[in-house]
Symmetry: C2
């Protein structure tokens, strides 16, 4: 089966030197030939936070587990990038904040500390050629005090917070106004509930920062669900908590980087975890489930698929999935974001009494953060290219993108930003095993007609991943919660009772 037409590709080096090489045809053929079969109580597909959390919980309950991961690494949408001296920056998900209790409890149990996101001094806001420093964390939260738009934006966002409380987290499609809210885009609502260009700009930037998508891409109902989801039962989410640094979703960071949580869990799982082994096929019936991956076939009593909804389509299911699940997987796209970081000898903005946080229209970067290591050395400036900008800039050259990003940084923080010692970027849309970040979202009509399939087990297949979480949906905390939930669900099922289905 290994044909000569493809053999030359091995000789090219480049691609073959990366993790993707695992998937090259000859390697596959070889892998298939030596592919073994294992037995386990539970097979977990995906070694991100959700899958690893689930596996760890099951092992603690003395169940045999095999975890299959497509990549040559663990951590899913979290990823550390070394920057020398034993230090790292995160090029995937990274922040935690109040009410994200499950990911914080997990990290503590693994001996991982948190530290506060650098937040001393003033933020800057840039629009219409004016650069305005401002103090964040006041009554406006993270909303910059644009003189012509802030009142407009605050009014609109407060309305959203109120509406969000009416959306049941376990079943957003049961909101009294679900049909009305899922029949329109967030853009339509924004147009009707704002009056100024500046107010609309502020809502747009907030939307892009949270969803890596434009207001036109999103169902209003999904936006409301997501806002409500950013908190626990006692502290329902608000748009402010989603976008704030201090006391918000960007409050703190993990010492050693967020990927360390997955790396430590992986270490505990040891040989139960198989990397570089994409799952092609899941066959299930009343007696069990068989998961075929590149390197291993696993026969188990239950399977957990812990991936973003749209990525679960990479697997062929036998028998085919029920139609609601199948059509949901067609309707849950991932956001569009490129995370860009520039490394400097020191965080020079701090000397100017700036936090390093900017909001502005110096495209392609509309949002920045100080992403330096805990000791502030070296200085790391982080900027996001999100939504439409990511779609435009993703197809340009890295050199063009680097120049544009540094120009954005310079607009916000001065010319020194033009001369980093290193430029790092990660376009999550290019990543074949993720194909978009920060998270999956739903356009209009999807929650209403298909939402109930999001975590409903299908035979012996159970679903995890942050997108299945009613709390902190789309965040690391949601991923961990989904792993804990699915582990409970599977334990109940293994004891011979029916799975707990929401």
């Amino acid at each position: 089966m290994a044909d000569s037409g493809l053999t030359r590709r091995r000789l090219l080096g480049g691609a073959a030197a990366t993790a993707a090489a695992i998937a090259l045809p000859e390697t596959n053929a070889a892998a298939r030939r030596r592919r073994r079969t294992k037995e386990a109580d539970v097979v977990v597909v995906g070694a991100g936070l959700a899958g690893l959390t689930a596996a760890r919980e099951l092992v603690r309950r003395h169940r045999s587990v095999v975890v299959l991961e497509a990549r040559a690494r663990v951590g899913g949408r979290t990823l550390n990038e070394p920057i020398g001296g034993g230090k790292i920056v995160e090029i995937g998900g990274q922040w935690v904040g109040p009410t994200q209790d499950r990911v914080i409890a997990l990290s503590r149990s693994l001996g991982i500390d948190t530290f506060k996101t650098y937040n001393d001094g003033l933020n800057v806001y840039y629009r219409g050629g004016l650069l305005i420093p401002y103090a964040s964390g006041g009554p406006l939260g993270a909303i910059p005090p644009d003189p012509t738009g802030v009142a407009d934006a605050v009014t609109a966002l407060s309305k959203l917070d109120q509406m969000a409380k009416e959306v049941p987290l376990e079943a957003p499609w049961k909101a009294r106004k679900a049909k009305e809210w899922d029949s329109q885009t967030f853009e339509t609502w924004k147009q009707a509930n704002t009056t100024t260009d500046a107010g609309r700009f502020l809502v747009d930037v907030g939307c892009e920062a949270v969803f890596a998508a434009e207001p036109r891409d999103l169902s209003l109902l999904f936006v409301l669900f997501y806002i409500h989801s950013a908190g626990d039962e006692e502290n329902p989410g608000t748009f402010e908590r989603l976008t704030n640094t201090a006391d918000g979703a960007q409050d703190s960071r993990f010492v050693g980087g967020s990927q360390l949580i997955s790396i430590r869990m992986a270490k505990q799982l040891g040989r139960r975890l198989v990397l570089g082994s994409p799952v092609h096929r899941v066959a299930y019936d009343r007696d069990g489930v068989t998961v075929e991956s590149e390197r291993l076939v696993v026969n188990a009593k239950r399977a957990i698929v812990a991936m973003a909804p749209v990525m679960t389509r990479h697997i062929h299911y036998h028998p085919g999935l029920p139609e609601k699940r199948a059509q949901l997987m067609q309707r849950y796209p991932q956001g569009s974001v490129i995370k860009c970081e520039a490394v400097y000898p020191d965080p020079f903005w701090r000397k100017a009494a700036l936090t390093g946080q900017a909001v502005g229209e110096a495209d392609p970067v509309r949002i920045t953060f100080d992403n330096s290591p805990p000791d502030g050395s070296p200085g790391v400036m982080l900027g996001f290219i999100e939504g439409e900008n990511a779609r435009i800039w993703g197809s340009r050259s890295r050199a063009d993108r680097k120049a544009a990003v540094l120009k954005s940084f310079a607009t916000y923080f001065g010319e020194r930003a033009l001369h980093p010692t290193r430029y790092i970027e990660k376009n999550w849309t290019e990543d074949r095993w993720t194909r978009g970040c920060y998270e999956g979202y739903t356009p209009p009509g999807v929650l209403l007609d298909f939402g109930e399939a999001i975590r409903r087990p299908v035979g012996r297949i159970h679903w995890a991943g942050s997108e299945t979480s009613p709390i902190w949906n789309g965040y690391m905390d949601g991923a961990v919660r989904s792993g804990e939930r699915v582990a409970k669900e599977v334990l109940v099922a293994l004891r011979g009772r029916r799975a707990v289905v929401q």
Copy 2:
């Protein structure tokens, strides 16, 4: 690799007796062991109308071609169902009409005739407990003359037709108002441009009949593009042409059934066509493309992938596809429809001077047609369960659905409808190689940011399928046009010039 845990499944019979059995693990393993390698100029993935048309054109130009099809049959979303006496009914796409010149030319070249859809007598309209017979084909076209809503609906639909003309068929995202139109759902527009419940009901039914989706699911820009697309350059499409029987998209039918077009093309292709061989992997570089399918590996100069956009995600591409293409494939869901047909000794509604066409709120069936064979024997009543109704009714039992469908028929045509000799249904969402009909559609924001990727070749991979056609997008005619277009594109590329890219 064939493990005992799955062997029992072969013994169960049922599933193993169907085409789906091809995909059972042992069969796969066996198939892989004996998998051969072939060489060809072009490999075509998908033996629907688009793929077969492309293959046929290439063979006529003396190119070597291999066509790989996942199913054990050809025809994609067209499918004949025998009803005895050598007669069939279609349980997939079936109608043709004026300006659908390419599918008609193709069928004629294959010796397949058309005949008029039965349309003698009056249609019926049912709402608010009243059954109103009416003559179709007048100035209102297919719009039922609801006394409280028809003027409202006609006004709205005329506006749509006018707006549709402003959408460039080759590049809908370049319409002057593209951003405005792609930022809202069709529902939002409908709410703002209708004033009566009955008018809205008529627009809803029309939307469901054309898209098998609800107005809330659809981008307004996509709806406008699709309307414009329903015609050729000289006769731009209108909503009326989409929904009309006489002179509209439901004007005529194929003698022997629409699938016969694909069956005859398949016969001409002979052993170039390989059935039951799903494609798992497409690897491409500067030198060629290698397509791995269940039964065969093909090395070729060019590949044509002729599938609905969302279904092209079933394949793993090496290297990964560009991000715009990858994210487009996450954002192009298939509609939801169950096609239901009841067979009677004779088309009894004809004796009451009725066409058999109904529009009404006797859910789950809101639209019916006389679908009897050309000679009118037996009588076949056809009803569609579409959009939200398909999503609700798809998960119920066949018996429940049959009872509900016959009750709908009886509401429109009387009690005799309750006693068919046979009931036939096809839920296209359940079909694992289609996962929804009639076609793919885009929610808001997709055409604007991702539309340009729809038929842009990726290296040596070219895209076909009705969803790639600027004319009669979503229809059999669009599929044939896409096959002709992609064949030209590939022929140019094979001659060593750059592919023609829209």
